[in-house]
Amino acid sequence: MLSKLLFKNQDKKQLIIAMIGSFMGITFLITSIHYLIKVNEFGEGADILGPNTIIVQKKVTTSSSLNLAKTDFSLQEIELLKKEKFIIDVKPVISNNFDVSFATADPLVPKFSSDVFIQTVDPDFMDVNTTEWNWSIKDTIVPMILPRDFLVMLNTFMSAQGIPQISDELAKDIKFKFRISNETSEKEYIYCKIIGFTNEVASILVPESFMKYGNDKYGNLTDQKITQLMISGTESEFGLVEEMLKERHLESKNSQMVVGRLKSMVGTLILVVLGISIIAVFVSGLVLIQYAQLLMSRNSYEVRTLLRMGYSPKKIINKFFFYFIKIFGWISLIGFGMFFVFKYFLDSMFEEGGLYIGTDMTLFSIYALLFAYLIFGIASFMNAKKGIYKEF
């Protein structure tokens, strides 16, 4: 009967407008948060390098070929790069300062041998299992990450020998060995094993401890120059990294830049949608709160009389509070349902366009919905409390 008294006579036009606004805001809020996360996750795990990470070197020009310009990085230059706001970390890529050759060491695979170039990067920049990516002098096998192009070359060789080509997984089971040596004919053979592949690095990657062992034992005594750096940039600001590379005459592998640039662009667009959605949810929430105030004001006689009859203010507050919480709950539920409809169509569109982004649900979008609901609940309760006690 209380509900009949307090909610029967109301002009629902404003309520319906606020509900539509909230519904649209909620739907776009969940959708934009979901796809912002999915776009940022895009490409993660596809390569051994971490997300938003690139390897850069100085542009090689005619003057640098003639030794008139430096192609290595000084410590001061590295420090300057670290100070840029959009750069998370900068670390040098260390190369071998000794001779290395790489050969097959498996009776089932034809002999193949080649001089190679090995490098090591800080493990923080890599998506790799740290227990696997480890080597100490007691270990008999060195883990390594092979450039995918190298495997293609190996398969071309296999094909020419009339032997079936090998897949990524099979390659990981084949035994290889490194021969490390120096100019004084000291040499050593160490078995090695592929644990992963990379599209972004042109050399074979080995653990830092192995590189240090080789450089200490077989390296020539001249100071090693830093010619390549690993840079990790902040999410959605990859455009600034690209700008900085141009200014400093640095270059990187194009594919790394394209993915980073695309992610930044799409991420920025989705951020704009997210901003608009937050404003929409906020404004429609305010309209709902304002509608609640209007309703209480229209029913001020009823509220005042109920309080005079002995009805507890808490009971009346709860009536208004639960009424609006239920409305927002339904809006959230319908908005959540609409998100799944959007998700179905958007995921299909991305898939048709060859973009295989994850289709699983993101927890953050659910948290955002719960957060919006919580904020509205608190605001609604405070509003009802203020309105009812005013009539006491």
Binding site: M1, L5, L306, L307, M309, G310
Partner: protein, 213 residues
Amino acid sequence: MNINFKSIMPKPLESIQHSSESIWGREVLLEQGKKIMLNASSGKGKSTFTNTIFGLRKDYTGQLLYDNRDTKTFSPEEWITIRKEKISVVFQDLQLFNNLSVKENLQLKNNLCSVYSDSEMKSFLEMLEIDNKWEQKCGLLSMGQQQRVAIVRSLCQPFEWLVLDEPFSHLDKENSQRSLKLINERCKQLNAGFVLTTLGDDYDFSYDHELIL
């Protein structure tokens, strides 16, 4: 519950000359169970008296004590308990819900303490000859009928005091006496007192006290 007026002077009435017998500015004790008539002409503060005693107005000097407790110290929750269980009121403007039926208006009050069944409430209406209005919206009733509904509503709760602010202003003598009889029976049953404000008519009832404003 005894109600003690200790030199109470409502601020809007400060400028008016009050007689030496007026309750305003004097110490007056309303003892539980007494039947009191409050007689005053218009503008002397009958509704102010009702609103003050019910905690709706606090713009006065002096003290209003319920069993020796200053009502200005009461919390909203304490006032709610008083309005639900200790003091019932029939306001001059009745304060009914015009969009609700007579039945719903009565049930809304009765539901707070579940004092009567629907048939008992209907029997009160029958005594006041408006039982045929049970399902009718209050807004469609005459003022006299509405006054009788408001009187029945005020009885649908436990109380120690019943304050009636000109409750019979739209009733004929017969209906006034019927209503007063019903009020008196309910007060006897609860060992409660009542204060009836009037413009001078005593409705042929013998009161314990007569107060003047």
